[in-house]
């Protein structure tokens, strides 16, 4: 049994442990009797090596850190326990403090008595007891800590940006302008995302295309950007600094080098297809097409599913008329492998499918439109050249009802607020009134016009004489009850400020549909090894202090993929993500947690039980020596093999068997006399 001691290399001299209990103002001290805890630790854990136990208002403050550093120097501490908040917040802080005092940072262990004790318990006595147990567990664990050196990995200066919406574009440009290479992967034939479909942007009403197109072009022409449109990421291997990414470049059926983007193929293609992607189903495109005249790259894509040639084997109109002979019917998908150091995910959102709310009549009542359809209707480059008309394609509406919160703030659909709908609806109110002079009604639960110049815009729309009815619309129907309702769409709603049900006849209804995560966000998250919230939005590292990084080193998120947000916020987050990546690149290398598994060869029986367990292929078996070896570069430190090894031949640094066994005993207070009244 003694050979287990080989798992650890205890310091030559006796452990000298310092215990530091944080008040965190009243956050902890309000529930846990920190003074008592500290005294208890000093007394009861003395025989376990605790030489000093202090409590202090804010351990994370510099005076707090000074306390620890001073004790390390003066009392020669060789182990430190900090009982405070979650290690996910301040582990780094205190490890650095120890390092400053010349102690190996990995000899410092944090015990969470805030998130796991004071914030979740009310019974002060019980909470104090639990805090003691936690500290006792930490003390026993830290006794088995060994000095470790962080694993230093080089950072590949190239970066992958996934998603060519405004957030992704911003990230890509920031990094490329700084002089580093960027691969921008976009699923659609062109970059631009949703913003490219909009007409005006709130609250300034400047033209979306006018401000976006220049950015799109500089992405297309930037020497440091490799633009991969009509492409999707299939696989991500490796780790921060050194990712290997597999990308499928879907067959465009067009030779991008030869093609000049003259557009003759689209002109000549005889096949008209409803354009659900760019025109939101309101307009038509050809079987070979570029989403819009501003498309970047200005190279068409052949829609095989709708192409006459692929159906009947004849036509080839595009090929015949293509001067540079760029059409390639035999072109196949390409698989590319990219090596990058960091990844920014900006995969955006999808619009809530309004057909899911039958009582709003979308898909059944012709003159019910979605917000995206209206964006196209109001857009000068849209199917109606900016004329706001009914489904018949000519009649201008005299009265329009805009319904807020469609599919948002509703437990039957999405329980969250989609953030942009209020402002978007106000924008529509203005545009529709401006274009048609129609009477516009807004049906809202709350007007959420936060942020710079937004409420001023609300004021402006009020001035324009827009009607506001506070109430979530119950139903939109075409069944009249009175003469003046005949031939109209009737919006039935409770005007909650009047306290009466109203039926308001209008010509056109606009559904301000909410934002949803991409249908495949969960799979994408899995591909990149990050996690999604219950709703499907990517989870940031910290909701307030780090809304850009993820729990996976080297993977950052930007734009609506992280949660609904408007254009300014998306741009800001895109730029922020870029800044984070640039910081990494400038460091050239970064230190990783030295949590890795390794095999003690003389104990390995060569049973190979562990061999099949590693999803990162870090485990190899040497038939010649009949032993297994673990490649520290590939090992991610999950510890599954450690747990599986029947010979106990695999050890995991930072989470070794005896560290955890000791912590169990500590938590159960086996190390304390007299025994606690647990049982």
């Amino acid at each position: 049994m003694t050979d287990n001691m080989e798992n650890t290399s205890p310091l030559e001299d006796q452990e000298k442990i310092g215990v530091y209990v944080c008040h965190c103002g009243t956050n902890i001290a309000g529930v846990v009797d920190v003074v008592q805890v500290a005294e208890w630790a000093a007394k009861q854990l003395k025989h376990r090596g605790v030489v000093i136990a202090r409590e202090y208002k804010f351990m994370c403050s510099s005076p707090g850190q000074d306390l620890i550093e001073k004790d390390i120097k003066e009392l020669g501490l060789n182990r430190v326990i900090v009982a405070a908040c979650s290690p996910h917040l301040h582990e780094k802080t205190f490890r650095t403090a120890c390092a400053n005092a010349g102690l190996n940072p990995y000899l410092c262990e944090m015990v969470s008595i805030r998130e796991q004790v004071s914030w979740v318990h009310t019974d002060k006595v019980a909470a104090t007891e639990k805090a003691k147990a936690a500290i006792s567990g930490g003390v026993e664990r830290v006794r088995h800590h060994v000095p470790l050196q962080p694993i230093v990995v080089p950072i590949n200066p190239a970066t992958l940006v996934v998603g060519g919406g405004i957030a992704g574009i911003q990230s890509a440009l920031e990094i490329a302008d700084a002089g580093f290479h960027v691969y921008l992967v976009e699923r659609e034939p062109s970059i631009g995302g949703h913003m490219a479909q909009f007409d005006k942007t709130f609250p300034t009403l400047d033209c979306s295309a006018c401000i976006l197109t220049p950015k799109m072009n500089s992405v297309g022409t930037h020497p440091n950007i490799t633009l991969l449109t009509w492409s999707e990421v299939e696989k991500v291997d490796g780790y921060v600094g050194n990712f290997t990414v597999t990308v499928r470049k879907k067959a465009r059926k067009v030779d991008e080098e030869l093609c000049t983007g003259c557009g003759i193929c689209q002109e000549k293609c005889p096949r008209k297809v409803i354009d659900y992607e760019f025109e939101a189903g309101l307009g038509y495109r050809k079987a070979i097409y570029t989403p819009s005249p501003q498309a970047v790259p200005n190279r068409p894509v052949l829609d095989v599913a709708n192409c006459t040639y692929y159906e009947k084997g004849t036509c080839k109109a595009c090929e015949i008329f293509c001067a540079p002979k760029a059409i390639r019917f035999d072109q196949q998908d390409q698989i590319l492998t990219l090596n990058v150091g960091n990844i920014i995910l900006a995969t955006g959102y999808e619009l809530f499918d309004a057909r899911r709310i039958p009582n709003y009549g979308y898909g059944r009542l012709p003159n019910v439109f979605t917000s995206l359809e209206i964006e196209r209707l109001t857009n000068a480059a849209g199917p109606t050249n900016g004329n706001v008309v009914l489904r018949d394609g000519k009649t201008a509406p005299k009265s329009v009802g805009i319904i807020h919160c469609v599919g948002s703030r509703d437990k039957n659909y999405n329980n969250y607020c989609s953030v942009i709908c209020c402002m978007q609806s106000l924008k529509f109110a203005h545009l529709v009134h401006e274009r048609t002079g129609a009477t516009v009604y807004n049906f809202y639960i709350d007007i959420r016009a936060a942020f710079k110049d937004y409420d001023e815009f609300y004021q402006r729309v009020l001035e324009e004489g827009t009607m506001f009815v506070r109430g979530k619309v119950a139903e939109v129907t075409d069944v009249p009850r009175t003469e003046n309702e005949k031939g109209k769409l009737i919006i039935q709603v409770e005007d909650t400020l009047v306290g009466k049900q109203r039926r308001i006849p209008v010509d056109m209804v606009i559904l301000s549909a909410g934002l949803e995560p991409r249908k495949d966000s969960k799979e994408v998250a899995k591909t990149f090894g990050i996690s999604c919230s219950v709703n499907g939005w990517y989870i940031e590292k910290h909701p307030k202090l780090d809304p850009i990084a993820t729990m996976t080193e080297g993977i950052f998120i930007a734009g609506c993929a992280q949660g609904p947000k408007d254009i300014p916020a998306s741009v800001a987050q895109g730029a922020a993500a870029a800044a984070r990546v640039l910081g990494r690149i400038e460091q050239k290398e970064m230190a990783l947690e030295p949590v890795r598994a390794s095999v003690i060869e003389e104990k390995c029986s060569g049973c190979r039980i562990c061999n099949g367990l590693c999803p990162f292929n870090a485990i190899t078996f040497h038939a010649d020596r009949m032993v297994t070896e673990i490649n520290p570069a590939l090992c991610q430190g999950c510890g599954t093999c450690v747990a599986a090894c029947p010979a106990g031949a695999i050890t995991g640094t930072g989470f070794s068997n005896d560290q955890i066994m000791a912590q169990i005993e500590g938590l159960l207070m086996l190390n304390i006399e007299p025994e606690p009244a647990a049982v």
Partner: protein, 157 residues
């Protein structure tokens, strides 16, 4: 016996999901009983069955294993291994004549603070109902710090 029996629960959490769920429960000030004491692992796959038996043998009345939802494991698929071991351990416990109900496996993503809290509470009540496990303490296993880990013998290979 005390009039109300307060069980001691050892909980193993995954650094990437359930530990953060516990953090979230804290940040959101969601209350649950103080009977559970948590240990952080990098992954539920790290859970060595020896840990569970050790805990139960040393005075814990129940053990809770938590990890990422199937398909959401930070290490791709290691939580499935935890699932397999969990079933194995339940059977082994039964063999020892211990209610398998003293061991619970919970999937909790980093976003599920509330779920984490409610699972803890309900598990505590279940164990409370089962009553104390007179297994620990009376068999005085020496501290491992005295250089004795029994894990190698205990692990069901």
């Amino acid at each position: 016996m005390t009039e109300t029996f307060e069980p001691v629960i050892i909980g193993f959490t995954c650094n990437w999901c359930s530990y953060r769920a516990a953090d979230l429960a804290g940040t959101a000030r969601i209350k649950y009983p103080p009977n559970v004491r948590l240990i952080r692992l990098m992954c539920s796959g790290r859970l060595d069955p020896a840990f569970v038996f050790k805990a139960l043998a040393n005075g814990a009345d129940g053990v809770m294993i938590t990890g990422c939802h199937p398909g959401e494991c930070h290490y791709i698929e290691q939580n499935y291994k935890a699932l397999r071991r969990f079933q194995l351990m339940r059977r082994t416990l039964e063999g020892f004549g211990i209610e398998p109900g003293r061991l619970r496996l919970v999937w909790a993503s980093a976003a599920e603070g509330a779920r984490f809290a409610s699972e803890v509470s309900s598990f505590i009540e279940e164990v409370r109902a089962l009553g104390p496990l007179h297994w620990g303490r009376n068999n005085n296993i020496p501290l491992i710090t005295d250089a004795t880990i029994l894990q190698n013998e205990e692990v069901p290979a």
